[in-house]
């Protein structure tokens, strides 16, 4: 990482288990992680404190993941978004890529797969001119 301060990651999944398992693994890698189970909470938090990377589920109560990531990209296009979902269809995958999503993981996934996706995102952030 070229930045001095750690990369900030927002995790959003309505099932707490997903964040519970990912957070410590990411923190060990030196990332700063905040977790949410409610998409509206996550969105209002993002408005105040932007994140470099967002990891979100697609199917959730409240506003769904697609809306959430669209809003995120509108507010801060350089934020890298990784989508995780249990109901991966080609259509949703295509749609999310159209919204500028960097990567797409189907649940259940391996922790190392998420680590690779995050590493890819960090690489892109590092390459972009500050």
């Amino acid at each position: 990482m070229s930045q001095d301060r750690p990369v900030r990651i927002l995790l959003l999944d309505d099932e707490p288990i997903v964040s519970k398992r990912l957070k410590p693994a990411l923190e060990r890698k030196g990332y700063c992680v905040e977790t949410f189970t409610d998409s509206l909470d996550a969105l209002s938090h993002f408005r105040q404190f932007p994140f470099e990377i967002v990891v979100t589920d697609l199917k959730m109560e409240g506003i769904d993941g697609m809306e959430f990531l669209t809003e995120v990209k509108k507010m801060r296009p350089e934020t890298e978004v990784i989508v995780i979902t249990g109901f991966a269809t080609m259509e949703t995958a295509k749609e999310s890529f159209r919204q500028g999503v960097l990567d797409f993981l189907a649940k259940p996934f391996k922790i190392c797969e998420m680590m690779n996706a995050i590493a890819k995102a960090v690489e892109r952030i590092d390459r972009e001119p500050q």
């Binding site: 099932e15 410590p24 249990g86 649940k107 391996k110 922790i111």
Partner: protein, 872 residues
């Protein structure tokens, strides 16, 4: 173009139309059901394997996954039963009710309702494992693991299971009364005190059914037998509530009665049971929104330990976190008053690292000690011998043993522990209870910015090999090159070895972590490491070269990284996280799998091979599959002239008793023997040619050594214990492009299901292999052999224990035929191979041998198979 010979069909139809018996299904329909059944069978087994794999610590899954997997597998099993019912109407009708009861249990679990399994009233401590938690309660389950898995001393005893609670308070008139009182409490008619009084009154006046009383008597007798030379034991009767998080939330709310005479246990049991409805417990549930339906209790009855000294050990001194010590409080005699905070105790602070030095002690003036009353039961305080008042209640060697044991418990449960212990008159350490230490208050002191620590510890290895068991281990490297290196292995070492040899398993209770150069995640050592939750990484390639004997290292098997030095911050950081094994989702999946995966039905020849004996979905799958094959083979082959004309024995160069049914053939010359040359189905022909490659089918009898034989007799996953003959016939069913072969050879089962057509998209091969006569290690070596061979042949292969599932999809016809040829050869070659797989090096050797034989016999004239053939 051949002319369709309709004679067999007419005969068949005549039989069907004019038969007085119930009408058998026309064969094409029967076969259609069979094919669909097989497809569901495969789907169900895949889902099951997938769910099992998720218990491995690398995966992140959520409840949606659990729900959809359970839905998928239950639906597949239902469809299997439906298709079997269509194939053999009304013959297996009981399957539906067995299925319904398993399914409703699964659904109750998914809906968060506690399902109290039907089981024993009384369970001995010696028989407890964590699977029995809903029967024995959290506290008892932990204690059972301490005794049975970790091999530490626990008091002899038994549990009056939650099943008794269920019978007493959840059935008949008592249930109505309990519900009535609780209803009136909930709607405000009764105050909490009144409701509690009424429920207590109801429970203490219960008459225990004979079956429960007899059970208790048996439990007592079993414990008493262990005290043959001394006075019969008295008992501590302790609550053990059931349910998520019961350990923390209900701590101290329920009754524990000490020094109870055997004859008084039934009364004591009722008193403890009634404490579930103490005003405090009821109010607690009300505030925490815990449903009354979830309030269930089991009760442990432990023989009283005549303790010389007792106390409590915290593996982490939460009052003084900077020091990072173990904190031990102890008194002479029983620990009851210490636990209750009524008695002053000695305090010792011990280092958390071997050799567990005493870092500090505060010895108080002890005036009394608590003892069991000689008569009437209960306990009393007695003046302590003057000479002992100012002496430490524990000796240095006792402190060291206690510290070492406490750290074992912490590393197993992956969380600091709060342990109740006693030293008996022989100075033997007995663990009375262990539970997670509440470190909620201390968390901020334990968490630090790990990334800033990174610079202090060099990374020795990273990302190499596979994580078998997650966790963090700190310790000294012990390089193991020979058996001798295992002698005097210091407690808490990190074992580093070239092979993950099963021999290393003997050290599992002493090591804190395992790293190997080569190994398989399904090998014996991996299985044991998971069972003991020892962090383990395998297949690092050169771990033994990089890691120096005697060096202090930290193994972070959560992210697959090995640091030089002891990175204690990481270990403490771990404590603040809930271990994967303690998460709700993990436990739910595990509980569900207990009703899904275990396979008890294995021998179709056994009297127990009945729908009623099916306890899990796997049993149902096995039963239905076996019966469907039987329906095809027996019923129609023997009685149905249409089929009779199509079922033939295949005569090959190898002594294989294989029945072939080929539906694609329009007419059959009965005189013509079915041989390799005359097989019409190209797929079956290719498969058979593969099986017949010279040098593959071992003709010499293989000596099964005594160890293998005994292990086959005692194995629980005994899908293969019977003789090959009792297990059923070998059958190949083919219809044009489709082929299904079920083989029971030399104690293992294999199944090949394939479509091999001109349409690439429709083509697939599904190959499943499991079983064997030898122990688990050798069978899993054979599984590894198969995996290696098939992976080299582009199969997608997964293994779990001795089960191998391989598939190829969407390949061109030529390609599929080549793979089928290899599968034929493989089935032949592996027939008795497990017996020969005496160590890990044999795997590679046999892979080479197999490839060599295949290489020499590459010239299978596959092009011959492209001749146009007659079809119906």
């Amino acid at each position: 173009m051949a002319v369709l010979d309709t004679k067999p069909l007419t005969t068949y139809l005549r039989n069907v139309l004019f038969s007085k018996k119930s009408r058998p299904l026309p064969f094409p329909q029967l076969f259609d059901h069979f094919q669909k059944l097989i497809a569901e069978n495969n789907r169900a087994l895949e889902t099951m394997a997938d769910m099992g794999e998720k218990l491995g610590s690398e995966f992140v899954f959520d409840q949606k996954y659990i729900n959809s997997s359970v839905t998928s597998i239950t639906e597949s099993v239902y469809r299997m039963i439906y298709h079997l019912d269509c194939m053999a109407p009304k013959q297996f009708h009981e399957l539906f009710s067995v299925y319904n009861s398993i399914r409703s249990e699964l659904e109750s679990e998914l809906n968060g309702h506690m399902v109290i399994p039907e089981g024993d009233f009384i369970i001995s401590y010696g028989a407890i494992d964590d699977a029995l938690e809903t029967m024995v309660g959290g506290k008892n389950a932990h204690l059972g693991i301490v005794g049975n898995v970790l091999g530490l001393t626990i008091p002899p005893g038994f549990v009056i299971s939650s099943r008794c609670f269920d019978i007493l308070l959840r059935t008949g008139q008592n249930q109505e009364e309990v519900n009535d009182i609780i209803g009136k409490w909930q709607d405000g008619t009764y105050a909490t005190g009144e409701a509690s009084d009424r429920l207590t009154q109801l429970i203490v006046s219960l008459k225990l059914p004979k079956s429960i009383r007899k059970g208790i008597e048996r439990g007592v007798a079993e414990v008493t037998a262990r005290f043959s030379n001394s006075r019969p034991p008295t008992f501590a009767v302790r609550s053990s509530a059931i349910g998520e998080d019961s350990e923390h939330s209900f701590a101290g709310q329920f009754e524990s009665l000490l020094n109870i005479e055997a004859s008084e246990i039934p009364e004591a049991y009722k008193k403890v049971l009634a404490s579930l409805y103490s005003p405090r417990a009821m109010e607690y549930r009300r505030t925490k929104n815990i449903k009354e339906a979830e309030a269930v209790m089991a009760v442990g009855c432990q023989a009283m330990i005549p303790a010389e000294a007792s106390g409590v050990a915290y593996t982490l001194d939460v009052f003084n976190l900077q020091q990072k010590n173990i904190l031990i409080s102890s008194v002479f005699g029983l620990g009851a008053a210490l636990v209750g905070g009524e008695q002053q105790a000695d305090r010792f602070r011990i280092s958390r690292k071997p050799p567990y030095e005493v870092c500090g002690m505060e010895i108080v003036h002890k005036k009394t000690k608590v003892q069991p009353r000689q008569s009437k039961g209960g306990i009393r305080s007695k003046l302590l011998d003057q000479n002992l008042c100012d002496r430490p209640s524990l000796k240095p060697e006792q402190l060291r043993l206690l510290a070492e044991t406490a750290m074992k418990l912490e590393s197993f449960f992956k969380h600091p522990q709060d342990i109740e212990f006693a030293f008996d008159q022989q100075e033997q350490l007995v663990i009375l209870q262990t539970r997670a230490l509440n470190i909620e208050q201390s968390k901020p002191h334990l968490v630090c910015d790990l990334s800033s620590m990174e610079a202090n510890y060099p990374i020795l290895m990273e990302g190499k090999g596979t994580i078998v068991q997650e966790g963090v281990a700190m310790g000294t490297v012990r390089l193991v090159k020979s058996e001798e290196d295992l002698i005097d292995l210091p407690q808490g070492s990190i074992l580093v070895a070239h092979y993950s040899s099963p021999n290393l398993a003997q050290t599992i209770k002493r090591v804190s972590g395992i790293i190997t150069d080569i190994g398989s995640p399904i090998g014996h050592l991996s299985t044991i490491a998971r069972e003991f939750r020892v962090p383990m990484i395998i297949g690092t390639g050169n771990g033994t070269k990089i890691l120096q004997n005697g060096a202090e290292i930290t193994l972070d098997a959560n992210v697959n990284r090995i640091y030089g030095g002891l990175k204690t911050e990481l270990c403490y950081y771990e404590f603040t996280e809930e271990p994967f094994e303690e998460t709700y989702e993990y436990r739910l999946l595990r509980r569900l799998l207990k009703k899904i995966s275990p396979l008890a039905l294995f021998d179709p020849a056994s009297k127990n091979f009945t729908p009623q004996a099916c306890k899990t979905l796997h049993d149902l799958i096995r039963f239905v599959h076996e019966q469907s094959v039987k329906v095809l083979i027996r019923k129609n082959y023997v009685n149905d002239s249409y089929i009779k004309d199509y079922a033939r024995k295949l005569a090959l160069d190898i002594p294989l008793d294989l029945t072939v049914i080929d539906f694609a053939i329009c007419s059959l010359d009965k005189k013509e023997k079915l041989t390799l040359e005359t097989i019409a189905s190209p797929t079956l022909k290719t498969f058979s040619a593969g099986m017949c490659i010279p040098g593959l089918w071992a003709r010499e009898p293989v000596a099964v050594d005594m160890k293998s034989f005994m292990s086959s007799m005692t194995r629980t996953f005994a899908a293969n214990v019977g003789t090959p003959h009792s297990i059923g016939q070998n059958l190949a069913v083919t219809s044009g492009d489709y082929l299904n072969v079920s083989l029971h050879l030399g104690y293992h089962f294999s199944m090949i299901d394939t479509i091999c057509s001109e349409k690439d998209n429709e083509n697939y091969i599904y190959f499943r292999f499991f079983g064997g006569v030898t122990d688990e290690t050798r069978r899993s070596r054979r599984a590894q052999f198969i995996q290696q061979v098939l992976s080299q042949s582009d199969f997608m292969t997964t293994t779990k224990g001795d089960l191998v599932v391989s598939r190829i999809k969407g390949a061109p016809r030529q390609n599929i035929l080549e793979k089928i040829y290899i599968l034929g050869a493989l089935v032949s070659f592996t027939r008795q191979l497990d017996v020969k797989m005496i160590n890990d090096t044999t795997i590679g050797k046999f892979v080479q041998k197999f490839q060599d034989i295949l290489q020499q016999n590459k010239t299978m004239p596959l092009e011959d198979l492209y001749e146009p053939r007659q079809t119906c």
